[in-house]
């Protein structure tokens, strides 16, 4: 009886941690809404938010309202969404490929999306087409990665990982080529900016366009979280337990790819988040994906929000978020590995 109660306790503890994370995220969103180079007093912020929420007009400055509702709120939302999406797909990828060192872009989605965007920039397309092209590029890259093992008639994880390396490498070269033929005086900056990722200007249209599909993908993956536990035991063990590995893994790959490509659409490519956040999540709530997936979403959202807010408020000019996520992510990952050195074989 004792054991049972303890396991229930464990789950309650995890649920509690998730609730705490959710409240923390909510508080941070509020706090971050109130800070920035353009100063609006917290009281004013709350008044404007309240007013907008319940459609009450007030005596606040229209400029302040535009700043808050039109610039800061979308940006904060974008950061939270992107952080959550990348972390969720990172956690899912690590689970379904039974490999804690996998990041959401290891099937080539990031480099594919960059190529999509770069090609659109090369042809001087408008921003919405650049975003669509990036999304399509990401999906195409993953399809290519999935195609190679098919051609080689191998269903193993290793083959998929190698295929990801092949496609990723080829994509990097293609991107290099595009950058080479791109006009260094006009287009190169835009391509590089896309590659480094930024929330400096968030296009509401892009968020609205990719959000519904992303939410569906996220819900599907969270609903499948227990089966992801089973997949994380490895292919044959999962199958012997009754898992339809191809169906489950296929669905997860499709959903993760949608999420990652969508987040790249919003902010360009941002590294490290999808790799590191799930590990941090496991430290907090354990490996059970039923708890880990929501926790990763929340932690990812919090992390991205904090990083973006830092880039937003410090210095005269904003630096690309990828620089900061790398600077924080790499040492943090090293620390995690140090902590878990016993389990890393």
């Amino acid at each position: 009886m004792l054991g049972k109660r303890a396991s229930v306790d464990n789950r309650q503890k995890s649920a509690l941690i998730n609730s705490v994370l959710f409240v923390l995220l909510a508080i941070l969103v509020m706090v971050c809404l109130c800070v920035g180079k353009y100063s609006i007093s917290p009281a004013e912020c709350i008044k404007i938010l309240w007013g907008n929420l319940f459609n009450i007009s007030g005596d606040w400055d229209v400029m302040d309202e535009n700043m808050l509702m039109g610039v800061r709120l979308p940006r904060i939302m974008a950061a939270v969404i992107v952080g959550a999406a990348l972390s969720l797909s990172g956690a899912v990828y690590q689970g379904i490929f039974n490999n804690p060192l996998v990041s959401p872009d290891f099937l080539g989605v990031s480099s594919g999306a960059c190529i999509g965007a770069a090609v659109a920039i090369l042809f001087a397309m408008p921003s919405i087409l650049i975003q669509i092209s990036a999304f399509a590029g990401g999906i195409v890259a993953v399809l290519l990665t999935l195609l190679i093992p098919r051609i080689m008639k191998s269903g193993s994880n290793i083959m998929l990982v190698l295929s990801g390396i092949i496609v990723g490498g080829a994509m990097t070269s293609i991107l290099g080529f595009i950058k080479y033929i791109a006009d260094p005086e006009t287009q190169l900056a835009a391509i590089t900016y896309w590659q480094l990722g930024s929330f400096a200007y968030v296009d509401n249209k892009a968020i609205v366009a990719v959000l519904p599909l992303s939410v569906v993908a996220a819900i599907v993956m969270v609903a499948m979280s227990w089966w992801i536990n089973i997949l994380s035991l490895g292919e044959s063990e999962a199958r012997s337990l009754g898992a339809d590995v191809r169906l489950l893994r296929g669905t997860c790959i499709v959903c993760s790819t949608i999420l990652t490509a969508a987040s790249i659409c919003i902010s360009g490519t941002i590294g490290w988040v999808g790799l590191v956040v799930p590990h941090f999540g496991r430290m907090l709530v354990g490996s059970d994906n039923r708890v880990l997936l929501p926790a990763s979403c929340l932690i990812g959202g919090i992390f991205m929000l904090l990083v973006d807010t830092v880039t937003r408020i410090i210095g005269p000019a904003e630096m690309p978020v990828s620089i900061l996520t790398g600077l924080i992510g790499a040492p943090f990952f090293a620390w995690l590995l140090y902590r878990q050195r016993r389990n890393v074989r």
Binding site: G3, S7, P100, L241, G242, R345
Partner: protein, 259 residues
């Protein structure tokens, strides 16, 4: 008949060598079948074929009178449980979470096991006297305990047959005996077991069915009297003695001294 294998032939891609060559095998309720064979003879391959993890080129396997190829992974998992060799998983789950994964074949793709499943798993842990492990992390328990947990997970599948892949290979004597005892217990409860092992003595100890797989993929099956000194010498390419030890009341298999 739980398992009926006819003319099963398997060879790895790009390889001429038949790992399994026209293998026939029948397993009934409560059978305990020990598969002996030298390293690389395809014992594990045979188990994988039984569990539907490998696609074989020739022959057929029937599970409870149904062709295996027509069954989904879930349907197979409802009959056959597989106890793999112990290994450290990449992710850390609690023993309870781990055992609950045995309930997968009863769970829908968007579902998760409920309180009933948890009750069932708890009962299994209790019956195996390892309920104290329930909230321990699977990574941090000993090898013997892991083997017990793997068996518990197999039982959570409520199978009719359990496949053991060298269940004793990494265990100390005490744990080896516990596993073999558990297998006998299952057999008495009507659950069949297929065990691959390197130790002919375990086959003698379990004392039921024996199958010997040679390097060419041929299989001979029968009772324990199949285990003769001559056969063992052929398989393992070394000298072995089989003798009746009165004190134990059974036949044992031992190596003569190493000079």
């Amino acid at each position: 008949m739980i398992l009926n294998i006819n003319g099963l032939t398997y060879s790895y891609e790009d390889s001429e060598r038949k790992v399994l060559n026209s293998v026939d095998l029948q397993i009934k309720e409560g059978d305990v079948m020990c598969i002996l064979g030298p390293n690389g003879a395809g014992k594990t391959t045979l188990l994988n074929c039984m569990a539907g993890l490998l696609e074989y080129s020739e022959g057929n396997i029937e599970i409870c009178e149904r062709p295996q190829k027509e069954m989904s992974a879930k349907e197979i998992a409802g009959v056959i449980a597989y106890v793999p060799q112990t290994h450290t998983p990449s992710f850390d789950y609690s023993v309870m979470e781990f055992v609950m994964m045995g309930r997968a074949h009863n769970t829908s793709i968007f579902g998760r096991p409920g309180a009933e499943d948890e009750e069932c798993c708890m009962n299994i842990l209790r019956s195996m006297e390892i309920e104290h492990l329930a909230d321990r992390s699977y990574i941090n328990i000993s090898g013997g305990e892991r083997q017990q947990v793997l068996i518990a997970r197999a039982l959570a599948q409520e199978p009719e047959i359990v496949l053991f892949d060298e269940p004793t290979s990494h265990l100390d004597y005490g744990n080896q005996q516990r596993v073999l005892k558990k297998i006998m217990e299952l057999s008495r409860a009507g659950i069949a077991a297929v065990i691959t092992t390197h130790d002919p003595d375990h086959a003698l100890l379990l004392g039921d069915k024996v199958a010997i797989l040679d390097e060419d993929g041929h299989m001979t099956s029968g009772e324990t009297d199949l285990i003769t000194e001559e056969r063992l010498r052929d398989i393992y390419n070394t000298d072995l003695r089989i003798m009746y030890v009165e004190e134990l009341g059974r036949k044992v298999c031992l190596v003569p001294g190493i000079k």
